[in-house]
């Protein structure tokens, strides 16, 4: 019989709630929590359950992943499962992170499940089958069944149906299929046309992604009195990267005090952005975050004053949803300090 291994967090691993969220990864032979239901549904034996605290995975991602990968070393398994994670934000990111790492390292198929309202979906849906899960743990039975259905097809080498049919988040892949009812394009066209003419709901066969256009802000009216803040997606951080901002697909950001500094010094600041050659930015971080020029212009009275922090994240591979969330987290800091305008440096 084929073999499966399941990843769950501290709560579903029956260690405890939020107070145990810092628990380091542990691996148990046999089935704990949801693994017992998976054992009933899967065409495979669930040999091990891995448990890791959501905070541990979130704050020490590299270590957590490395520890889990080494636990899996030498174990035989045909599929790796994580969750279901429901609407628990950190847990969804943890499931996606570990599934992606396991798939890359061991080349086995991975399946997880999460609610559409969670950050894990946009971060990982292109990398794996993520079933569209419920929002609360009472949907456990249903979500496990849905995961097992796809997992069993993978285990048995059967073709996986479309995202709609199987209930996973579309992975950005479009293929042609023959409709079961053979309904020709001309009849589908007429149906859609009549519905559209009559103002009834209809389903396009080629959904166009919504373009989220941000209008360009109006010019700053009185620059001489304006308070300016500096934000960048170029990954300029203090040399020890104290906020552990990721080098790609970032979910973290940081703000760094520049009160009293005339410029960012090489060696004290560097870039951790993985999407360009860092040599120039490491040699002179001001080429991305022009603190030097802004301080000079402030002295010359070109604009009012500089907000005493600059803000950093990494843009490469970062989803729009994550970028929006991080911006929303930054905004209160600007409002509190009465910032009038932000200079946004991208790379």
């Amino acid at each position: 019989m084929k073999k499966a291994i399941l990843y769950v967090n501290q709560f579903f691993g029956q260690i405890g709630g939020e107070e145990q969220a810092g628990t380091a990864p542990q691996i148990h032979e046999g089935q704990i929590g949801p693994a017992m239901q998976f054992a009933k549904e899967l065409d495979a034996k669930v040999t091990h359950t891995i448990i890791c605290g959501d905070n541990y995975m979130g704050s020490n991602t590299e270590e957590a992943v490395a520890e889990i990968l080494s636990m899996l070393e030498g174990k035989e398994f045909d599929i790796f499962l994580a969750g279901p994670a429901f609407q628990a934000g950190r847990y969804t990111v943890a499931c996606g992170t570990i599934c992606k790492a396991v798939k890359e390292k061991f080349g086995v198929p991975v399946v997880t499940s999460m609610n559409s309202e969670t950050p894990g979906v946009n971060m990982f849906k292109k990398d794996m089958y993520i079933l569209q899960g419920g929002n609360i743990a009472s949907k456990m039975r249903k979500d496990v069944k849905a995961m097992a259905k796809v997992a069993n097809k993978l285990l048995n080498g059967e073709p996986i149906g479309s995202a709609d049919e199987e209930g996973y988040f579309a992975r950005g892949i479009r293929h042609q299929v023959w409709r079961a009812d053979g309904k020709p394009a001309s009849e589908r066209m007429v149906d859609m046309l009549i519905k559209k003419l009559n103002g009834e709901p209809f389903q396009t066969e080629l959904p166009i992604p919504k373009r989220d256009m941000v209008p360009i802000a109006p010019a700053v009216k009185n620059l001489k009195e304006a308070r300016i803040a500096l934000v960048n997606t170029g990954g300029i951080v203090p040399a020890d990267n104290p906020d552990h901002i990721q080098s790609a697909s970032a979910t973290r950001w940081g703000r760094y005090n520049i009160d009293g500094e005339e410029a960012l010094k090489s060696g004290e600041y560097k870039t951790i952005h993985a999407g360009f050659d860092p040599a120039a930015a490491d040699a002179d971080p001001n080429v991305i975050t022009p603190v030097d020029a802004l301080k000079t212009l402030e002295k010359e009275g070109v604009y009012g004053s500089l907000h005493p922090y600059f803000y950093t994240t990494v843009g490469t591979g970062t989803t729009e949803a994550e970028a929006q969330r991080m911006a929303k987290e930054m905004i209160p800091h600007f409002q509190e300090d009465h910032v009038d305008a932000v200079i946004m440096v991208s790379t």
Binding site: S162, T204, I208
Partner: protein, 441 residues
């Protein structure tokens, strides 16, 4: 305008002494038919075959498909092309149904030519796999384009149209089994009941990308590159006003057969007077220069508005560069207040991960999608090949290749093939047949 299409169903095709249709059996005097084909001195070699559904036949390089027809009053079935200019779309036309004349190159193919399988896994990829086909396999003296990737295929395509007319003539004095009637009066004289219904135009974007004449679709024999959008009666399209061209990856092509039977037009006709008031066709095109695209979209939207259209359907014969015409035209119509549905195929790549059309716009919110031109297709060897299979690999067919580091050549020694859907003859059936759609995975 009233068009009556008298249908004669072809159940079987045989070679015999005299061209005739009797009890559904079409008999063709092969020698007589080939002599007729060879009246065009450019045809150097010609052979005739029969290919029916289930036959273990693969055809390559296929260049054109035509429904055999005749006009009992003596007018040509393709006015301005196979005969003198005359009105199309009015009066009586006879058609041999479930039957087409296919033209296949004896040796040489090109970018615009394709594959048809009559049985097995490959049969479902084209509409013509389910028809009784008379297959003309021929070669020509058109040396100037023998080794060109883009071929006009003029002699071969004309031979197909002429042969379809020649064969169709056998029912000229017979009584059809059934008659389809297509009648639409003046757009402003439809009567109060019909005029209460939302009015709809069908916008066709036939292929016209080549600046040099001889490749593009024709309207009454006139090159579509040289038109600005105009109004046509749907009957004209069903009755031979349009002749297919010889340019573009062939899964996007509308064969002449597709124009003659255009399912989108027939579907709109069927709803006419019930749910819609089918005003007619706006015939546009797909010229390559941006200004020409913008001009065409401007014309289409203006005509739709002038006619008072509430809704429109836009269909494109191509992908890639023509996507700009397709999306631009839909946007122009939506901006002009015309609720629009589009029909197209997509190019999402072999892995399905590419952007489906070269340009996208949120205003295109109602699209019927008919397939992925770049889907990889692998098919086993076929007992009989009509034409020359090597053309798929050798001659630059849009879905074939001479060699590939990973996939190897398109045509293997054992006769099995690997290709992109691009070279399935009229495979995406945007004219309305398509049973395919696109799904997210």
């Amino acid at each position: 305008m009233k068009l009556e299409i008298g249908n004669f169903y072809v159940k079987d095709i045989v070679f015999g002494d005299k061209l005739s249709l009797e009890n559904g059996v079409l008999t063709i005097d092969k020698e007589e038919a080939l002599d007729f084909v060879k009246e065009d001195e450019r045809i150097t070699e010609a052979e005739l075959h029969i290919a029916k559904p289930g036959d273990k036949i693969r055809m390559c390089p296929v260049k054109e498909a035509v429904e055999p027809r005749v006009r009992p009053d003596g007018r040509s079935i393709f006015p301005g092309y196979t005969g003198d200019l005359a009105k199309a779309g009015e009066g009586v036309t006879y058609a041999l149904k479930n039957c087409s004349v296919l033209v296949v190159g004896m040796h040489w193919g090109g970018f615009q030519d394709g594959i048809i399988d009559m049985s097995g896994e490959g049969q479902k990829y084209t509409y013509y796999g389910q028809l009784n086909n008379i297959v003309l396999v021929a070669d020509t003296n058109e040396e100037f384009e023998k080794n060109e990737q883009q071929k006009k295929n003029d002699a071969l395509r004309r031979a197909g149209h002429r042969l379809a007319e020649f064969i169709g003539a056998c029912v000229k004095d017979m009584t059809p089994e059934e008659t389809e009637v297509y009648e639409l009066g003046g757009m402003i004289k439809r009567g109060p009941e019909t005029e209460k219904l939302p009015s709809v135009v069908y916008v066709m974007q036939p292929q016209s990308q080549m600046e040099e004449m001889g490749y593009n679709d024709l309207v009454y024999g006139w090159d579509m590159n040289h038109v600005v959008p105009t109004v046509m009666h749907p009957n004209e399209i069903l009755d031979g006003a349009m002749v297919s061209g010889s340019f573009m990856p062939v899964s996007s092509k509308w064969a002449t057969y597709d124009f003659q039977n255009c399912p989108n037009i027939k579907a709109l006709y069927k709803e006419h007077g019930k749910t819609i008031n089918f005003l007619g066709v706006i015939m546009s095109n797909l010229n390559v220069a941006l200004e020409q695209k913008e001009r065409a979209a401007l014309f289409v939207a203006q005509i739709a508005n002038s006619l008072g259209a509430d809704g429109a359907v836009v269909a494109e014969e191509g992908y890639g560069n023509p996507d700009a015409d397709f999306v631009g035209c839909i946007v122009a119509l939506e901006d002009a207040g015309v609720k629009t549905v589009g029909i197209t195929n997509e190019c999402t790549g072999r892995d399905g991960q590419s952007q489906p059309l070269v340009t996208l716009d949120e205003k295109c919110d109602a699209i019927v999608s008919c397939g992925n031109v770049s889907q990889l297709i692998e098919l086993p060897p076929m007992e009989t090949v009509l034409g020359e299979l090597q053309a798929l690999a050798r001659d630059g067919l849009s879905g074939g290749w001479a060699d590939d580091e990973i996939l190897g050549p398109s045509v293997r020694e054992d006769g099995s093939i690997i290709m992109e859907n691009n070279s399935m003859f009229c495979g995406d059936q945007v004219c309305g047949w398509s049973p395919k759609t696109m799904k997210e995975f």
